[in-house]
Amino acid sequence: MLRAIGVSYSYGSSPNGVHDADLAVAKGEVIGLVGPNGAGKSTLLRLLDGQMEPQTGRVERPPPRTAEGRVDYGFTAEETPHFESLSGLHNALFFARAAGLDRTAATEAVERLFERLALSEHAALPVAEYSFGARRKLALVEAMAHDPSLLLLDEPTLGLDAESRTRLAALLAERAHAGTGIVLSSHDAAFVEEVAHHVVFIVRGRTRRGGRPDELIEALDGAVNLIFNLSGPLRSPPEPRGPDWTVIDDGNPIVVRAERGQAALPEVSRALLSAGADIREVHVREPGLGDAFRRIMGEELGPPPRGES
């Protein structure tokens, strides 16, 4: 239903932007865009939404409105302006009616979504009094109230508490099941792993190999994260890597990615003990999408400098 073919957009001499990116989303499919800050995720979403036109390449979009005249896109940016003096409810009703719903349908849809995202108790408050998280939920309500067949969500979990995040995941799964195509960008790899059918990594503006979250995790070939809780600080920084393991967080806890699984535990423990670590406990965590992304990043950018995860 939506396809970007070799799209590029540069901001003058800035390295930020999107370069020769490809992406396709089908009806009912959830695509997760995962990448570091400044990788081009937001730019790609804006290109997909038509807020910017690509300098090269093309985006094939469905018509902006349905046959009945309803806007068929929903979009949330990281920062979404509102009518600050109006209530959240009136803001959401404005955007739902602007998208083509009549007053009754808009009210029903908005109230339902306020309920689903646990925003009802804030409905009558002016947006100026909203917390950051409540503003983010309101923006999500506004993107979805008119039930578009294409949803483009930039960092949808930003500012959401765990409960709201779970509610959002359920809502997106329902929408996808009903046929909505969804593209979401997120730093929250666990959320993407939970809701996305297909993940696309984006690094330095270029889309990289992707796949189903479970495939990407399986491709880690038994790699695990070893998590060492320490009783006190280290005497000296730990070795950053061994033959088949890499320290990805040298704080407390120390997190080590072991490519061949738990077999690396004795060697890593020895390395930490020699750095003066007083190891209180060790956990082994199965790898997730974040680890798959770190591997891609490692391949793209080389080994991280000491101390950087």
Binding site: E53, P64, V71, H90, A98
Partner: protein
């Protein structure tokens, strides 16, 4: 026109009672001293005309630029509001709000000028037409400006220039080219109506002001597909030329 923008603008105005009160009281701060003074009617009428037109032009242009800067205009247009609908409904609600806010000042002005009820009625009709034209002018100003400071400058210059062209500061000699231009200018009627309230001059002919009230929105509608994206910073949802 769905009335959505109109309704929202009124809702916003009613949620800001302090701003509403200021917009009533500040014009009165100028109108009252002039009304109770011995100012010549011609001078007083000119000051009132400037006050009303500047109030409406600024009141239209500056909030529009502010909303463009915050991204709210772009968001509304991308959400599905059509540019012409957005701009015209903003102007209509703005003109009526200005009328409500300036009514006490007009009453004071007409009282100071010694107006009778019939002359006041003509002045009120002229005021509504002038405010409508000034709000439309404000949209054009906002589209040309990139910042609020620029909007304030452009609003002041364009409103004062049109007031001058309308013969508010100095009337052209009868039969001269400037007199003919004045007769066709958008703010001629409000000035003439105020002079008429003071017992001077003929009752103004509102035909030209009515013509402007139709022509200006038509121009705005024609330009809306250009003005909207300019204010929005990005093309609205239905902008022509979008690759589908």
């Amino acid at each position: 026109m769905s009335g959505l923008v109109w309704e929202t603008e009124w809702r916003i105005a009613l949620r800001r009672p302090r701003l509403f009160a200021l917009n009533v009281l500040v014009p009165l701060l100028l109108a009252v001293p002039i009304a109770v003074s011995e100012a010549p009617a011609g001078h007083a009428a000119a000051v009132y005309a400037v006050l009303f037109v500047i109030h409406a032009t600024f009141g239209s242009a500056i909030p529009l630029v502010r909303d463009a800067e915050t991204g709210l205009v772009g968001r509304a247009l991308r959400a599905g509001v059509r540019p012409g609908e957005y701009l015209l409904e903003r102007c209509a609600s703005g003109a009526l709000l200005d009328g409500v806010q300036l009514l006490p000042s007009l009453l004071v002005a007409c009282w100071g000028l010694g107006s009778d009820a019939a002359a006041f009625a003509v002045a009120l009709a002229s005021l509504v037409l002038a405010l409508w034209a000034a709000n439309l002018l404000g949209v054009l100003v906002a589209a040309a400006a990139r910042t609020i400071a620029e909007a304030a400058l452009f609003a002041a210059v364009s409103a004062l220039l049109l007031l001058h062209v309308s013969g508010v500061f100095r009337a052209g000699a009868p039969g001269s080219l400037s007199a003919r231009i004045e007769a066709a200018a958008p703010f001629r009627a409000i000035h003439e109506a105020l002079l008429h309230s003071a017992g001077g001059g003929a009752r103004p002919d509102l035909t030209i002001a009515l013509a402007w009230a139709v022509v200006l929105p038509a121009i705005l509608l024609l330009l809306a597909t250009r003005l909207g994206p300019r204010l929005a910073g990005t093309p609205p949802r239905d902008a022509p030329g979008r690759v589908m």
